[in-house]
Symmetry: C2
Subunit: 232 residues, 2 copies
DNA sequence: TCTTTTTTTGAACACAATGTTCAGTAATGA
DNA sequence: TCATTACTGAACATTGTGTTCAAAAAAAGA
């Protein structure tokens, strides 16, 4: 059942290099790290590094890919359990803040002041691609909106990312739950005015069909379960 | 009256290096440029470059500083003329989009996909510092808000910057006026919900006193003259 | 104009980091 | 046990950085 096991040396070497990268980022920031630093810390040969990764960036990227897969699997599992009735609701943004908080060292490396912009761009593109389709769908057969859909999407993504980086850069002074709430407060009225009308819960749900990947489906819960905007 | 004139050679050398940097950014993107590229293009000696700037970043930064000064002077002039009654209203954001559009080559170098993140961070800090004081002032002696003031400020800044970069990266498909309108549509409802209440026009105006620099004063017009959110 | 001051030049240099190569060694899995 | 695969480490070519200095050129000042 399990696909062919990876050579133990490979996983060991990769793990060592990832760990080295993480501690080095904490110490001096991503930009300042040289390949030699990583080699010294991980205690592996120079040629070994280049046998695995083309450069520093690819090493960081692979850490991120790994984490993203992990998160998507978790989201899929949550979504499946929701279908069976165990969990009432999935909160994508909240889960994202929780997940980020759990792995905050890596995410700080990825998205914090100390990091390069490279992965932020990657992340940006990832979220944008995830959102643009469904949001467009949401407006199918509707009249033109006050704000172009690409801009609204771009805006939502950058709102989330800027909250995320702020949170990490300031050492997470609020809980994931509070950040999730803040995101709702900031984004919900925007969605309404950008679309030029209230968007009904049922509309989101009708789109979150069977064909979408788990994490995308989960994203809808962002809009679906409101409970935002106190004392209004 | 005029302060001592700068040596003609100095301005010439600097101009050549700036022009070289700009065309090179267009050609291959900021990151890919080496100091040698700049020297070849500008046709100046290596030691000359280092006599003027510590590195590539400092050269780009000085372009930006120059433009910022220019913009602030223009804003100050506009604000002064407003006081004399000639111009009814100053629209900071609109002026910023116009100014950016006029110098879009440089701003694209500064804020576009091709550029480094360095100046975006600088810009971010600049706008944040400009906004945080007045916004805090605005809420003096008021009860706690649904969203912490630092986050609201951070959010407004990142909204503006993300609109700006989107605009530049997509070759300015809309007019500065339209972008200004979009910014209002996206930010106005956020300000209201983040503050937990409507903020009166008079409140903004009472803060925009004599002691604030021109561009900051002008910033208030962002809130002061509404006219946003059509068909609501 | 002549003199003084300032700027530019270009080549040489030390240095730091990258990424490749390859023969030798060690660990692994079957 | 043994074929396979991965790691090693030192050497090497390459690219880019930033400094130095004496000579040449240009500008400013009188």
């Amino acid at each position: 059942m399990k696909e062919k096991r990876e050579d133990r040396r490979i996983s060991r070497t990769r793990r060592l290099m990832h760990e080295a990268l993480m501690t080095l980022i904490e110490e001096k920031g991503y930009e300042a790290i040289t390949v030699q630093d990583i080699l010294d810390r991980a205690d592996v040969g120079r040629s070994t590094f280049y046998a695995h990764y083309r450069d520093k960036d690819e090493l960081l990227l692979s850490s991120f890919e790994h984490l993203r897969t992990l998160f998507e699997q978790q989201q899929q599992a949550l979504f499946d359990s929701r279908r069976t009735g165990a969990e009432p609701e999935v909160h994508f943004i909240l889960e994202l803040f929780r997940h980020t908080g759990q792995h905050h060292k890596l995410y700080k490396a990825i998205a914090g002041k100390q990091s390069g912009e490279m992965i932020l761009k990657y992340f940006n593109r990832y979220l944008y691609t995830m959102l643009i389709g469904p949001l467009t769908e949401l407006n199918r057969n509707k009249k033109s909106m006050p704000v172009p859909i690409e801009i609204t999407t771009h805006h939502l993504v950058s709102t989330l990312l800027s909250l995320m980086t702020w949170w990490l850069d300031n050492n997470m002074p609020y809980s994931a739950e509070r950040m999730d709430e803040i995101f709702r407060i900031l984004s919900t009225p925007v969605i309404e005015t950008a679309f030029g009308r209230k968007v009904q819960k049922s509309e989101y749900e009708s789109i979150a069909g069977e064909h979408l990947p788990g994490s995308v489906k989960a994203f809808y819960s962002l809009f679906v379960d409101s409970g935002c905007c106190p004392d209004k």
